[in-house]
Symmetry: D2
Subunit: 296 residues, 4 copies
Amino acid sequence: MATPLTKNELRGVIPPMATAFDARQDVDLALFEREVAYMQEAGVQIAVVGGSTGEGAMLNPEELASLTEVAADGGLHAIGGIVTTNTRDAVQRARLAGAAGASALLVAPPIYVEPTETALEHYLVDIAEAAQLPIVFYNHYFYTTPVLRRLAALPEVIGIKESTVSVIAELAELAGDDIAVSAGIDPTPLAGLIVGATSVIAGVNAVIPREATEVFKAFEDGDLERARELLARIAPLARLMTQPLDFPACVKFAINAMGREVGDPRLPCQPVSATAGEPIREALKTARVLQPESVG
Amino acid sequence: MATPLTKNELRGVIPPMATAFDARQDVDLALFEREVAYMQEAGVQIAVVGGSTGEGAMLNPEELASLTEVAADGGLHAIGGIVTTNTRDAVQRARLAGAAGASALLVAPPIYVEPTETALEHYLVDIAEAAQLPIVFYNHYFYTTPVLRRLAALPEVIGIKESTVSVIAELAELAGDDIAVSAGIDPTPLAGLIVGATSVIAGVNAVIPREATEVFKAFEDGDLERARELLARIAPLARLMTQPLDFPACVKFAINAMGREVGDPRLPCQPVSATAGEPIREALKTARVLQPESVG
Amino acid sequence: MATPLTKNELRGVIPPMATAFDARQDVDLALFEREVAYMQEAGVQIAVVGGSTGEGAMLNPEELASLTEVAADGGLHAIGGIVTTNTRDAVQRARLAGAAGASALLVAPPIYVEPTETALEHYLVDIAEAAQLPIVFYNHYFYTTPVLRRLAALPEVIGIKESTVSVIAELAELAGDDIAVSAGIDPTPLAGLIVGATSVIAGVNAVIPREATEVFKAFEDGDLERARELLARIAPLARLMTQPLDFPACVKFAINAMGREVGDPRLPCQPVSATAGEPIREALKTARVLQPESVG
Amino acid sequence: MATPLTKNELRGVIPPMATAFDARQDVDLALFEREVAYMQEAGVQIAVVGGSTGEGAMLNPEELASLTEVAADGGLHAIGGIVTTNTRDAVQRARLAGAAGASALLVAPPIYVEPTETALEHYLVDIAEAAQLPIVFYNHYFYTTPVLRRLAALPEVIGIKESTVSVIAELAELAGDDIAVSAGIDPTPLAGLIVGATSVIAGVNAVIPREATEVFKAFEDGDLERARELLARIAPLARLMTQPLDFPACVKFAINAMGREVGDPRLPCQPVSATAGEPIREALKTARVLQPESVG
């Protein structure tokens, strides 16, 4: 078992890593290991494995565990994604992820049947207890601040991933003693940070962890001008990583276009076609991570 | 393998059956068998197994198959619910349900990652081909008529379960040659039927199949006055069966209150407390399926 | 002053009449008088003047009054539309409409600043008292049944215009002693009527009042088959009268296409172009109110 | 006529001033003059008159003009609010406001009947031409960036008031040459500024213009820490100024509680009761603009 993450350690740029699949749609641990190494080299310390971007809802518990193990063995603090429909399955995933070396769990509310607040609270506690791991709650259903404060007060919860700026601000102000707030915002992470978030969990981080980290560091150094300048380069890409449909496909297209390899998304998600992906290639060039001449 | 249902056979009151769990939260096939018998006695011919109301999203493929088998062996045309996140898992569920005797599949769009239209179309075709079964599409994400017409044109799709009255009307008018429309409306099934639906799939049907069938028959006989009179009795119950949160719990409370036995919902869904369930008991009395003196 | 309408008189097909404008965008009472005569000949007894469809929000109080007078003098029970932002203006409109012969008022909630429930209640009472006229409340902001029941309990309120079928059903069942429910549904009025509405206020009624009335009568006579058959003819037109943007323009295009004359909508609403209006012309032919050969 | 504002002048904290009413609900210009003086002393240079917060939708054109005149005579660059239903009325308001000394117009889309994009474009141009004044478009209906860019390209439009952070960022990046973006965000203006807004139009500015300006200045000086510290004091008040219902009432309660006087909101808006206003009083104390001992 890894040392559990604490609230104060939940800082910086946290990529929700893409899950690599092979041509038969099976998890490809060898490719994933290279992604882990890429994150390491980019200065990443914490990463989410099997989150939304990582197609976590499409993985079985054993797949989640094997990915977690690779990430942890690769030197990352691995946060295991728990995106499922019910407690029984969530607990199994959490236990296996914990045994495989997860340092925390990123837990979405149970999907499909929206739970009552009480059911949601039990869900989080049951998962945390089973795995003996702290929880970052992923506010996927847009719960409002009163509900989130109640969850924040649970000792099991060390963080909340939130994408609405005003809610980030309220949480940072009203629940900042209990939890760290992670901004789930791709194109405007600075807005999240300036109102109190201390980390960013966003799909674009999985594509260009180094560049995302530079923005974060410039902000932390108080060099707003440079932060905004750096962000301007990657904002077009960030916006393209937040499409409402088939979003893991866009993230994978971008990673593959950069020359790394994560394969196609799991069906029914379709890979992005070369034509549909052209704006992503353009944005990668704007972000200076793709050579103009390398465009095929 | 059962004989596949046809579009024209998709008629009448179709209960989305509750899945019975025992005290350890395991599927209880003996209790479920009694529910199947209850449906039979109520005149039900077609039933959904492991749909939304049946907590299908919380079942594993083997559980779905065993429930399907019980329903089919009990003499019902069983429609297997396919509520999951990805093609691989959906295909496995569909195959097992088909082998267990399903006559059709009620397929929700892949949950969590909302698919593109093309991805959705592939999803349905892949499932139908794997199981060699016709599909009733469950319009869970509120796709509009143009998308639904495209799905209706697939030879694999024999029906669409729809809960918006205006969309039912449009589908019946514009796609009526391709599919049968099933009204997914608990409190106002007559509104769905009068605009062209030929069947009703609604949680309340799983609670009081006989009374729901009487409404349907009165409508079919052209006796509107009686249909409305009968519906007035069960409308309060029907409204209580469509709560947005934890809805399978409400259905189970009602069934258990009538003296049948389906156990508690699977966690994190919580059972409805006696206090919270009091309005359901009242509504059961209005529906004349619970004796006034039987109230504890 | 006209005799106030009662709850029980609020029955049948009620057209929300289009307001005729001349080429300078001024109200054209002569043209409007012809519309009133058209309604009379079609068997209409009650009509809304200056409602949403009648661009009531764009009329000043004097214009509303002059239109009301023409309708009342023409033999209709005129319901004056009160669609404005504040009590002072609403009261002035209501008084003038009452003096001009209105039999009731169709009051939308104050627009732009959404009111509290208490403010809304005061608004309705202030208007009713000033004009000494009964109110039909237009549920424009989608208030839910509990709020509507509170409004229904006001002695000043005789009706609620509602477009959601389930809410119509609940109101008819729970507040039917206090109010009559008017279905604000263009394409599926039968769905509203079968769940308890006793009248229909819908834009399509202003275009083809005779055909809309035939559907209503067939339903009232218990001849469902004929009602559905008649509705099938006009449903395509009805759907085109409920576009979310610039909807008064579509109603006016249809009326003008039939050879009556109501001019263009008031700016910024733009008239529908011949090209954009082609589907409306097609639908008018399906409704059998436009000769195939008359297409220019 | 005042000198029209330019895009580059649209900077800083811009209060949407409350409109003072007397006990008979008439506009009270004497009280309003004192508010203008208060803004001046607080360092405000530009203010909105008769905007949403100023109950502009409830004012007639003459009232709007008289308020504009007082603001302009008091030394402010007055931006006249145009919140109405149609072009004719909007043009009249714009002309009168221009004649009374407005430097620009804050134009909401026509209310009630949502316009097509073309209609909206014509609306803005017609208003600007009639008054010969530049326009700040108030994105009240949540138009997305493509629509807003089209409006931004109009030479008549110098600014867009926007409350969604991601849209502010896109506009600043993609349309920054054409327009200035004004953040319509009460509690987190820093989020708007860091992504590219150059001004803030928010109800809380009308209550505590001095304190809001201090936050802005600290941000402009690059002293983020101080900006956040100052904002923390006023954030609770800012949140209370953005209630969805009857919001002008909350702003007026706060101003009145501080000892200035703007009267009650115009009916049907109800004044906030002492009990309901208690949190506002508490927030004013947190903002250090109300003495603890002054609480009644």
